[in-house]
Symmetry: D2
Subunit: 354 residues, 4 copies
């Protein structure tokens, strides 16, 4: 039985408490939050858990084996570092930390203290993403060409970080899990509309070593909630609409290929293949339940979780590079993985491989 | 009665022929196309019209008052210039020409020969765009913040021009009509997947003199057709979904404003206003009918059409700048309207105006 | 070349004229309508066709081989009968006639004069219905259990007939084509809201000899257009949404079966099978084009069309029975195909066959 | 503080336990379920609550003030009657009981023991239904013409009662709350597909004293979940789609009216009014939270809840009549409220009132 303390009972903390309460091999023994009202609510929902005002006091409670951190991003590092130093296993909501430097130090601390460090990349545990990942692994989509995501709604994140740290983080976490090649460069443009506030609209582009591209539109000023991702492959294409109740993932047997014209070699014609659409049955277990079970299981087996500290670090590195590009009017940020890998945005001729 | 000849009976030409046939004050007297099969089809649909293989022969037919050009973009200039020189009024499908230089010369020729030159910016005549334009004119949306459009489908344009010239041209034409300020810079990134073919995916950003921004995603490799535009204003926001059968335009009474915190002046809080949604009744006349009527009416009254040669030129200038940026890995192209107008991508503090 | 005259250029006539003009093996030589304005419009769209005020004059024109009737239902019989007596082939918009008696006489006249008599059951030629028909023929759906259709919109039919004759006729025509068993009884309830007008809302139920059931909701007072049909089979289920732009037909690999409980024979458990969804590619040829080609081909080959006079008669018989039930507060009308076939509304135990 | 015991921790019980735990003025002190596994799960989610196998033991626990019953329908009566006899306040999931006779006895017991008896008509507390109720109260819809609901999904109710008792109960509860006139007759048709199981598809019609009509399609064999209700009024019309994430309620400013023809008195023309659509902002509090608060508040103030025992009884009476009609092949069941009120299914001429 893993004894868990949850720090932060604001927007997301209640979901974490509820899911860890459901796990047979875990027990939520303490909840902390700076607000007395939030703690009272936690008390009604999790009777028996200790209610603690200070996250640091919770960390120092010797009964606790593992700490779950769901506080504003700027506080992630101090809390997680202290918990690791105290020998606790640590789960941190995404993004793992407010800078790559902080994230790197958390990874090192977890290594040094031999504790589990997990990033709360919740979409990796969603049935839809797991199905897409399977399709890619099985080669069903062919060569991956592009990932295009729109993730917008009305509502700001109040921690002082820009909209990419709130919303694009989900896409970067999904890409870290499903995409097959290495990001080599990032660019981002955006706008800020409120003095003293960060960018509320942004367009982020990630360039990959295989010449595929990912583009993410995030926006806090959108009148409706849209969560739609297109994945283009040379064989099939996927539309993943997370706002849909049923049929979140649609796989289109449509594509494009180059036909060698019989008339002349130099004349190239592009042909379209229109085909059926298929919406696979998805596992409808709540993603957060899978995530909670993964954390517990990693602790029990002393292994790294699927979304370990390193994945959290890689995502924060991309966010940091994107913010740098944003301040630089969209200038491309080279991720330093070797210029020889970055062949420009023009991919090789893939027509013959289709 | 305006006597019309239509050059090009491929994808779009039949719609133009049909709509001009419907006009009481016009008559389609000739159709030309290089393909005998297409001409035979035109003959069945427009009995009595002369069927001509060469567009230049059609232009030289003295019975014809006005020429409608619906051929591949690279041929627009030669045909339109010849028609103007022959004293015909000219309607050219969008984009007006394959370069700003060509477009400028057509504008000059129309001026010199005192003939109507009209660009086929069909969406400007659609009920949805007309309603959005009215809402903006009436100030209902408040200050315009952003325009974000996704215009994607499976299917290439075979003229050798990139995807922006095929799809983003619609958004640029709409923006030319509805947006209140001047474009000052453009950037674009994209990808090409087929050797010898132009970019098939692109992301285009236009920066305006009032610090608003327009972003357009165009894509020929998308498995489904999406035509969705978001317009963010400081008072209201619009979602325009052209694939919807009913309720194409939704106006959201939602917004964001800065609340002066009572606690401290330096602490800024952003408040959300959630409200009702409203879908105005739209005029459901076919956009092309409005466009055809505008051409006829301009000729009869010797006036400039709503989408005149100058608007066609402005749109081609933006496309040309975007293609230049695309070749330059997204570098921002200054449109040369005066650096003093271009204050950077960070808008002024608009919060207090909300 | 079949020379065609079209009678009636109101709501539907223009679509028929346009489609017959497109056929290579037909020619629209005359159009008639009682309204001078409508005839003038027909003249602009079909230059060269004779424009005739009286349908009877058109019928008597010796140049015409085949007559297409798109007039109000109460006039169908007189026009079609006269055309058959004059030796013309006849296509009649649905419903074939205003009573079963009239429909039967038309079938007899066509037989006697050896002419083609075709009912304009246009949905039978739609890609969606053809695909559903294939799935049923191939046994993919298993035993058919129910057909449930909602076909509603704002807008009345002005001929004095109730809403079923306007809208349910489509479902009865589809059922006549795809359903495998014989209708044995009909009931219908409805409401009328305007003095002197017929029922504007109705619920129609058809009972079949294999104990399957069809239910159709038709309504002229609905604020939105809905065209959604569910077809339940013992193996798979279909949702056909004709308002959808893409993916009109969805096939669900979901079902229900009886599991023999291991504990006790008398304890029955129902199990659900949830599975993937599949949206087959549909032929997107306009249904009316298929219908026009079928009429021409039947004439040229001297054969019965797919939707022949007999199918038109069967549909009218059901409409007539439904109207009779409507007047009788929903009382079940026995169709007289033999009481032994009508086993009551309770079907046989189908569980074991699943 | 009201001390609550919840009987039944199957499908719906967990939602009730969670919502009562959230209420500040209530405390869930005991949960009972016949299954040890379900009780263990209840223990993890509601630490500190007594876990009891027998519902009767829970009822007899003197600490408990109020009993919430979420067990199979056939057990409702015995549990609720015992609880009332023991002086407990009682909340019973819908339908209140398995027969009108049972429901009437519960109403009498509550009266006799002066305890709150509440029916779990949860939709009455949903933001969407509350908004529709306000629109009707304010007269915005004009005279109510029809209510048409489709409430279908894949999945059976295992208590031996037919599909109407599982699904149509929601519509009858909504109608009991919002509709302005008295039901005078009921008819229902349906089908059963599994030996030993009740009807799994049904069509239920309720006739009202003002000649309005309600029609409900319920189905356990549908491949997708649909929850769509149309409400037609003489001024405006409502579409309520409960599966929609946003904009569940749409109000259409569309209608029909009779225009007195200037030509002749006896010639009647029906005119359509097409107008804007409006989607009001809804209160998004979970319906169950409102329901739980209503129960607590009724107990504290010794008043009848909005959905009291009488409303539960009226709904069960309609279900019972519908089941009787179902067994009688759709024969109309007169509800005995006076034949003089039931003017037949043909409403008065409402045109002039529009």
């Amino acid at each position: 039985m893993v004894k868990i303390g949850v720090i932060g009972y604001g927007y997301w903390g209640p979901n974490l408490v509820r899911n860890f309460m459901e796990c047979e091999r875990a027990k939520v023994v303490a909840v902390s939050d700076g607000s007395a009202d939030r703690l009272a609510l936690a008390g009604r929902r999790a009777p028996g858990a200790k209610l603690i005002r200070s996250g640091f006091d919770l960390i120092h409670d010797p009964e606790i084996d593992a700490v779950v951190i769901a506080t504003p991003v700027p506080t992630h590092f101090e809390l997680a570092a202290e918990a690791l130093r105290c020998g606790k296993h640590v789960f941190v909501e995404k993004p793992l930390a407010a800078s790559a430097e902080q994230a790197r130090r958390l990874v090192d601390l977890a290594e040094k203290h031999r504790r589990v460090l997990m990033a709360g990349h919740v979409f990796v545990y969603a049935g839809a993403v797991r199905k897409i990942s399977e399709l890619i692994e099985a080669g069903d989509l062919g060569k991956l060409l592009y990932y295009d995501s729109v993730r917008i709604n009305l509502g700001l994140f109040q921690s002082g970080l820009d909209v990419m740290w709130d919303l694009a983080v989900h896409d970067l976490a999904i890409l870290d899990h499903i995409w097959k090649s290495t990001p080599v460069a990032v660019s981002a443009t955006g706008m800020k509309h409120f003095a003293g506030q960060p960018e509320d609209i942004a367009y982020l582009t990630v360039y990959y070593s295989d010449n595929s591209i990912a583009h993410v539109h995030v926006n806090w000023l959108a009148p409706m909630k849209i969560r739609r991702t297109l994945i283009g492959g040379s064989r099939k294409m996927v539309v993943y609409d997370d706002v849909e109740g049923a049929e979140k993932v649609k796989v289109y047997d449509k594509g494009v290929s180059i036909a060698e014209s019989p008339e002349a070699l130099y004349q190239m014609r592009v042909n379209y293949r229109a085909g059926d659409m298929f919406a696979p049955l998805l596992d409808n277990q709540e993603a957060l339940r899978g995530e909670a079970l993964e954390f517990i299981d990693s602790i029990e087996h002393g292994r790294k979780p699927l979304t370990d500290g390193e994945s959290g670090l890689r995502v924060v590195e991309l966010l940091e590079a994107a913010t740098q590009s944003l301040k630089n009017r969209g200038g491309v940020i080279d991720l330093g993985v070797g210029a020889d890998k970055f062949l420009g945005y023009i991919p090789q001729h893939i027509g013959t491989a289709v």
